[in-house]
């Protein structure tokens, strides 16, 4: 029994079942934000591991490493080619990208630096320690880029991964309200760039509902912010002494 669980197929199977279950419930609940497939799979996956670890009389961390991680790592590896493939939507949006690349890079770089400052202030205000703050800085990038950067500046990559997932959950849940409250749609380019930065691919899908300019800008931002985070965050972390 234990031998069967300690093979990659357990982690792959658990991930698949939970994600598909999440998709089904998400559809049944007519898109309630709590049931976003990824968020659902994260919460119930951790819950399942906690319960199973009790049954196998080990602690959760050991059970995760022995039973889930072998399969999880195989799925995780495919984020590498999938992230590289983001060059394709960027290439397909070449007309807007080439027309506005100066605005895009300037907005994302300056926006990132200001946001990082604000994030550090908020983190210190609630009393996060150094590791916690470092884990918060790279969350704007897509997971495959955010995690290695987070590790490199002394953060905890699991916490950063949670941040990336929660970003998308929050934008899905509150995106419409936030756009209205802050009148973001007055500048379609700005709304698109903001949604792509804060909400990753989910934000990009939501931006497309606002309009084609917003959708294109968000799709570009999801890719470009990864490059911006890669350059800005390590320098910023070094400067504030993390």
């Amino acid at each position: 029994m234990t031998a069967a669980i300690y093979t990659p197929i357990f982690g792959i199977g658990l991930s698949l079942v939970l994600y598909l279950l999440g998709q089904w419930i998400f559809k049944k609940s007519k898109g309630l934000f709590i049931f976003q497939p990824l968020f659902f799979a994260m919460v119930f996956g951790i819950l399942a591991l906690v319960i199973l670890a009790r049954l196998f009389k080990t602690d959760t961390a050991t059970f995760y490493t022995k039973a889930y991680k072998p399969g999880g790592d195989i799925i995780f590896w495919f984020l590498n080619p999938a992230t590289i493939a983001f060059a394709i939507p960027l290439y397909k949006k070449n007309d807007v990208f080439k027309k506005y690349w100066k605005e895009i890079f300037l907005s994302l770089i300056i926006g990132m630096i200001v946001s990082l400052g604000a994030i550090v202030v908020v983190s210190k205000a609630v009393g996060l320690n150094k590791v916690g703050i470092a884990s918060m800085l790279s969350q704007a990038a897509t997971t495959a880029i955010a995690l290695p950067i987070s590790t490199a500046i002394g953060g905890n990559s699991a916490v950063t991964a949670m941040a990336c997932i929660l970003n998308a959950v929050i934008i899905y849940a509150l995106g419409k309200k936030l756009v209205n409250w802050f009148h973001l749609n007055d500048t379609p380019i700005g709304a698109g760039l903001g949604l792509g930065t804060a909400g990753h691919t989910v934000g990009s899908a939501f931006a497309l509902e606002l309009g084609s300019v917003q959708g294109a800008m968000a799709a570009v931002a999801v890719v470009v912010i990864g490059l911006v985070v890669d350059i800005v965050v390590p320098i910023f972390a070094h400067m504030i002494g993390i």
Binding site: Y19, I84, A85, V159, A198
Partner: protein, 152 residues
């Protein structure tokens, strides 16, 4: 993009895999050469490489499109293990969980609003620059026109 690109047949899936594998391998080598003080993850290099290869028409879109689009369509699922990796760090969640969630929620709003407003400011500034430039150009044109008239 243009029509003839869409008409070209998609490359066989194994050939597409070979292209992604080669790009990954090269990116991995470049990434390992980067200094540890300036880490550049493999996917970042691969993304830039593939974008440049497409832009310089060394690789045709049809050679990488269907596998890439398929991989991107899976991205939500591919994130599941990184989310579940929190199971190995539940002690952090027990001690700092609430603070972390507060910071993440506020960070999301900060990034959305700050980026959008920065873009708005930059676009407004650029428009302002263009208008002033147009004004000076218009006055110059008027001057040359009046000169031409005076000459006649």
């Amino acid at each position: 993009m243009n029509n003839d690109k869409q008409k070209t047949k998609a490359a066989p899936i194994l050939a597409q895999m070979a292209i992604y594998a080669s790009i990954l391998f090269v990116s991995n080598v470049i990434s390992s050469l980067m200094p540890s003080s300036f880490p550049v993850p493999t996917p970042v290099i691969g993304l830039i490489l593939l974008y440049m290869l497409l832009n310089f028409k060394i690789i045709k879109l049809a050679w990488v499109d269907s596998l890439g689009t398929f991989l991107i369509s899976l991205i939500g699922f591919l994130f599941v293990p990184s989310g579940i990796s929190l199971a190995a760090n539940l002690n952090i969640m027990a001690t700092e969980g609430i603070q972390l969630v507060i910071v993440i929620a506020l960070s999301t709003i900060i990034m959305l609003v700050v980026t959008a407003y920065t873009a708005r400011t930059i676009i407004a500034f650029k428009k302002h620059l263009q208008e002033t430039r147009n004004k000076t150009r218009n006055t110059k044109v008027q001057v040359t026109v009046s000169h031409a008239k005076g000459g006649n």
